[in-house]
């Protein structure tokens, strides 16, 4: 159980770093969605099911979708 938790935190940090440092904006947005999903699991471990259900529906679902729509209207690759 506790090993699984440390693994989740590792993935959380890695996804945040990936969202910031990658050149491809689509990869960055998907990493942000993964980040939100793991934070939602942490909310559930903190006995906050209301917040967890909201974060899973909004942070991982709708938020990713609106970022993808915005990238479609602009440019996918980050320029130098």
């Amino acid at each position: 159980m506790i090993i699984l938790l440390y693994l989740a935190i590792l993935v959380l940090g890695l996804s945040a770093l990936c969202a910031i440092f990658t050149k491809d904006l689509l990869v960055s947005v998907v990493a942000l969605g993964v980040n939100s999903l793991i934070v939602s699991a942490l909310f559930f471990l903190m006995h906050a099911p209301d917040v967890a259900i909201t974060e899973a529906a909004i942070g991982a679902g709708l938020s990713t979708a609106i970022y993808v729509f915005a990238i479609r209207h602009t440019k996918r690759q980050e320029e130098k």
Binding site: L12, G13, A19, I20, L25, L32, N35, L42, D50, L62
Partner: protein, 120 residues
């Protein structure tokens, strides 16, 4: 049972990563992604303030039975109520700033903030 220090540290590290992204990135959408990470970290911090080790979710159910002044089994529900609405507002503000980013791209032809000055 998980200690609160664990969640506090996670929130701090996530906040610092997001802050570093806001300070150093040059792409507008990248800056907004960093802001989203920072916002998630702040929500995590606020929920952790209400976390009590050994508490249960603040919902009265059949298994919990009854609560009184001498058997309080719950975690603090007030920060959770705050964060619940803050997440939804966060989506609204993120969508508004993304629309502004799209309009910037239409005007300048680039998303890089260092190349935006001068030409309209």
């Amino acid at each position: 049972m998980i200690s609160a220090i664990f969640f506090y540290s996670t929130a701090f590290v996530l906040f610092l990563i997001g802050l570093f992204g806001v300070l150093t990135r040059k792409n507008v959408i990248k800056i907004l992604v960093s802001f989203s990470i920072t916002e998630t970290a702040v929500n995590l911090f606020l929920v952790t303030v209400g976390y009590i080790e050994g508490g249960k979710a603040p919902i009265l159910t059949n298994t919990i039975g009854s609560i009184g002044i001498h058997n309080l089994k719950f975690v603090d529900p007030l920060p959770q109520a705050l964060v619940l609405t803050a997440i939804v507002i966060g989506l609204g503000t993120t969508a508004l700033s993304l629309v502004i980013a799209i309009k910037l791209y239409k005007n300048y032809g680039t998303l890089n903030i260092t190349k935006m000055d001068g030409k309209i």
